[in-house]
């Protein structure tokens, strides 16, 4: 899996859990929280969906790795590929 594909997976998850957000212009290098209305409950759901849909575990101490799409790709791509 490429980093781009990984970003798309994260975006698809966000589209599912926050159907009322406009995701057409999400900047990969900007914190998700700063451009979308996401709170800690939404981040919990991103983690839960990663586990449910892709079997990927994100321990609580790593939640901050999911701050932006770029950091998500950096952190998650190796997990997808391993």
């Amino acid at each position: 899996m490429t980093k781009e594909e990984c970003k798309q997976i994260v975006l698809d998850i966000i589209a599912e859990i926050a159907a009322d957000e406009d995701l057409s212009n999400v900047k990969p290098d900007v914190r998700l929280r700063d451009q979308l209305d996401l709170d800690s409950m939404d981040f919990l759901d991103i983690v839960m969906e990663l586990r449910k849909q892709h079997g990927i575990e994100v321990p609580e101490e790593d939640y901050m790795q999911l701050a932006s799409l770029d950091s998500c790709a950096e952190y998650l791509t190796p997990k997808f590929n391993s």
């Binding site: 599912e16 009322d20 409950m41 939404d42 759901d45 839960m48 449910k52 609580e60």
Partner: protein, 471 residues
């Protein structure tokens, strides 16, 4: 033990908080069982049939209404968490409500500036103080607050110097969310309710609470969640500092890693051991509600408010009354008065009046006296309508009557099993949800979030905290 009897989570109560928690947990593959002693779902916000008519038990208004698209609000958060599309709930905003005291009335709508304007006109010397008080509340994190109990009256009194305005603001918020019986409210609770009622506002699905319950239950069912109705928990089985499972009223046993209970603090502990009930922390505030169904729209008789919170004296009382009913104050709700759209109106008119009641009086009556008392107090309660609507012709109203019902503290007890029929449960809440047993967690009323929206959020947040992120 068969697999059928082993669950990840057992939820006590199929009210708003229980169903919301059940949805969250089943979304993420937890095996969940909801049990309720009642046959019908919804708890205190359920519905029932009488003489072929459907009645909502509790619903006056769904609070926390905001226009579609407004984010960061309790309503939007809970829809997201439950993956419910807002349109499914068919939420229709109120026309407008009123706080009515002997000399002064304050109108409010789902637009907060209306209330500010009304206060500026009726209390010109107080409006700046009121605005500073609102800022004071904004600076306070009411949801996370775990400190000592602060009095809403003293906090209000520190900003607002006119006791009449203090009482007028207390009145609606006590009725919609105070478990205390000492004319006061916890300040953090006050802040949550102030937002729910004044800063956001009221709405209602055209079909009433049934619509909400149906959407929630459909969601729960589609996720594979299980329910067992008409069969409550008779006993919780302890195993050291943990709860191993439950014996149900039909004698069967179920086991679970986590138990979430919306039965109430003392009521839940009593299921473990009656000696654990915290006798100093038992609620007493209960209500009577009269419901009158009429053939026309109440607006045609001049009743054009959605909800009126009234007090017939400048000093608003909120305490367990010495009389069967305290006719000094109350809430009048007209479910017809919501903006359902130009092509829809409820087919019959309905008027609901709520007042504070003494559980001890109502619970001790024999069947015949109970029915007689309901009749007698219906008539007396109805008289308060002319305080809110001085021009109302009660005789004309009664000529249109199609049906009536009266709901007492005994009814609340039946629907919730709360001690004393206490609508809002125990006065001291457990915001962490924790009990003496590490895997027994409170949700709903006694966790501390009240009302429909509050109890849904309570179920969601406790399920997230203890069911999804581990204890």
């Amino acid at each position: 033990m068969s697999l059928e009897e082993q669950f990840d989570v057992l939820i006590i109560g199929c009210g708003m908080s229980g169903i919301a928690a059940g949805i969250r947990l089943s979304m993420y593959q937890k095996r969940v069982l909801i049990v309720d002693s009642h046959n019908a779902p919804g708890g205190l916000n359920g519905f029932y049939f009488k003489d072929g008519r459907k009645f909502d038990v509790g619903l006056h208004a769904v609070t926390n209404y905001v226009e579609p698209g407004i984010k960061g609000t309790p309503l939007q958060k809970l829809l997201r968490q439950l993956r419910i599309n807002r349109d499914e709930l068919d939420l229709c905003p109120q026309w407008g409500s009123r706080i009515a005291f002997p000399e002064v009335s304050l109108r409010f709508t789902n637009d907060f500036t209306v209330l500010e304007q009304e206060i500026a006109e009726a209390f010109p010397a107080q409006i700046d103080r009121f605005r500073r008080f609102v800022q004071h509340m904004d600076a306070f994190d009411a949801l996370a607050y775990e400190g000592p109990v602060l009095s809403a009256r003293s906090e209000l009194g520190a900003y607002i110097s006119d006791p009449l305005l203090v009482d007028m603001l207390m009145c609606p918020l006590c009725y919609y969310g105070s478990a205390r019986n000492d004319n006061d409210m916890d300040f953090d609770q006050f802040i949550v309710m102030f937002r729910s009622v004044f800063r956001e506002g009221f709405c209602r699905p055209f079909e009433g609470v049934r619509k909400i319950i149906k959407v929630l239950l459909d969601r729960y069912r589609s996720l594979g969640g299980k329910r067992k109705m008409g069969c409550g928990v008779a006993r919780l089985l302890k195993d050291g500092q943990r709860i191993a499972g439950a014996v149900l009223e039909d004698g069967s046993q179920v086991y679970a890693d986590l138990v979430l209970s919306s039965a109430g603090l003392g009521e839940t502990l009593k299921l473990v051991d009656a000696a654990l009930v915290p006798t100093h922390n038992i609620g007493t505030m209960s209500f009577v509600e009269s419901i009158q169904v009429i053939s026309n729209q109440p607006e045609s008789l001049g009743m054009d408010d959605t909800i009126v919170f009234f007090s017939r004296s400048d000093k608003f009382r909120y305490e367990t009354p010495a009389e069967p009913l305290d006719l000094g104050s109350g809430v009048i709700c007209v479910p017809n008065n919501y903006a359902f759209g130009s092509d829809r109106a409820l087919p019959e008119g309905m008027i609901r009046i709520t007042a504070q009641a003494d559980y001890n009086y109502w619970s001790r009556l024999n069947d015949a006296d109970y029915l007689r008392s309901k009749e007698e107090w219906f008539m007396r309660l109805q008289q308060v309508l002319t305080f809110a609507y001085p021009k109302l012709d009660l005789a004309a109203l009664n000529r249109q009557e199609l049906a009536r019902d009266v709901f007492t503290p005994k009814t609340v007890e039946r629907f919730t099993r709360h001690f004393n029929g206490a609508v809002y449960g125990a006065p001291q809440k457990k915001k962490s949800g924790q009990t003496d047993y590490e895997n027994l967690i409170l949700i709903g009323t006694d966790q501390g979030f009240l009302g429909i929206i509050g109890s849904l959020l309570s179920g969601i947040s406790m399920a997230n905290r203890y069911g999804l992120t581990g204890i």
